[in-house]
Symmetry: C2
Subunit: 232 residues, 2 copies
């Protein structure tokens, strides 16, 4: 079948910008998460819950990717963290150059953790390295248990899957065990955290995972920032 794919030069250019971002994050000892999912899986709600569960002395910045609106950025900004909005003006994913440009508007040296919420799309964002440390994919139980096998790339490249809307499990046909099995078929290394952003349940292990990665990354980072914030 004929197909339209992302052109190789676009991906090469992206890789170069991603490498620059990665090098900067390494230098700063800043742990960076690329949060991806379908529209409506609950990325923003999870981000808000995560912010409320993280300790106040862990400094978080957020980049919000959206096609047109600033709705998500407004929700996140209400939590008192620095937020930069990227409006992709129709593009269906974030790329490393967009993120690089957005970094200029964040107080990077003060941050311990940067959460990047990608555009709601289970396909295209997976092809674009942003220079992040970890890709985290959100999947809600209402989307059906067949998604890992139908959209494998995003799950294959993720470190963590947050399985959201577990409060709706009793009212759907989704088999959580089967879903987790299929996630591990696609990616045996995947760490899976079932959560309900609506009920604020299941967040402790995910937040613990995040805090450990932040601590390890800071230990490896260079410069004064590491010493200032040691012990988180």
């Amino acid at each position: 079948m004929v197909k339209v794919r992302i052109a190789a030069p676009v991906l090469q250019e992206n890789s170069a910008a991603a490498a620059e971002n990665r090098s900067l994050f390494q230098e700063l000892g800043l742990f960076v998460v690329n949060l991806m999912s379908s529209p409506g899986s609950g990325k923003t709600s999870i981000l808000e819950r995560t912010l409320s569960h993280l300790p106040a002395d862990l400094k978080v910045g957020v980049i919000e990717g959206d096609i047109y609106t600033t709705k998500d950025a407004e929700r996140v900004a209400a939590h008192g963290v620095p937020v930069v909005q990227i409006n992709t003006a129709g593009a269906c994913h974030l790329d490393a150059r967009m993120v690089k440009a957005a970094l200029e508007d964040l107080p990077l040296k003060e941050l311990d953790l940067l959460l990047v919420e990608n555009v709601g799309n289970l396909i295209c964002p997976a092809e674009f390295d942003l220079g992040e440390d970890a890709r985290v994919v959100v999947l809600s139980v209402t989307e059906g248990a067949d998604k890992p096998l139908k959209y494998p790339l995003v799950f294959r490249l993720a470190a963590v899957a947050l399985v959201n809307k577990t409060d709706l499990l009793p009212y759907t046909d989704c088999d959580l065990d089967a879903l987790c099995r299929d996630l591990r078929v696609v990616n045996p290394e995947l760490t899976i955290f079932p959560v309900s952003a609506r009920l604020d349940t299941g967040f402790a292990p995910w937040v613990k995972w995040l805090r450990e990665r932040v601590r390890i990354k800071k230990g490896r980072g260079g410069g004064s920032h590491e010493q200032e914030s040691a012990g988180i």
Copy 2:
């Protein structure tokens, strides 16, 4: 912000193939629907319910777009209708050339209605005209009421929105009235049908809408097929 967009030559080439498809559909008097949504909104379940509600003498063909698997095509084939699977091998949408190639494997002259299930993606498929008569977008209430304003293009170009999973309304924070209001802000001409594919409710008005369009298109089509099947 820097952005990666679908290149103009790709869209021009697509428009040419879409025009050929449209001309063929016109000649055949065949009504064609392009069914679009996020992953997990319930396109395939809606397609299955629609097939079961249509009268047996209305001949339906299906094209299933999927990135890798044949899961959806197998579900649809179980209903005894001709199905052609397009595996896009990673591409995030169907285009008119893919559909054109798939048409060769369908008994087009025998069909009254062709349902094309696009790849699960609320963004990219909206940019590709397939030559269809109507775009129908599926949105589930569990995705949240903010989707029409966040992903306007797909809703702006649709004739119909099927709002699915209404059985879950009591367990979510989704306000169906607000959702319908926002849908009409984006597209005042949109016809909205709330349905539950799981409970098989709400399908009668949607199926009536489809049957009327099939009847009108057949009346306008050329050739013997129109006379053979008049009166549906």
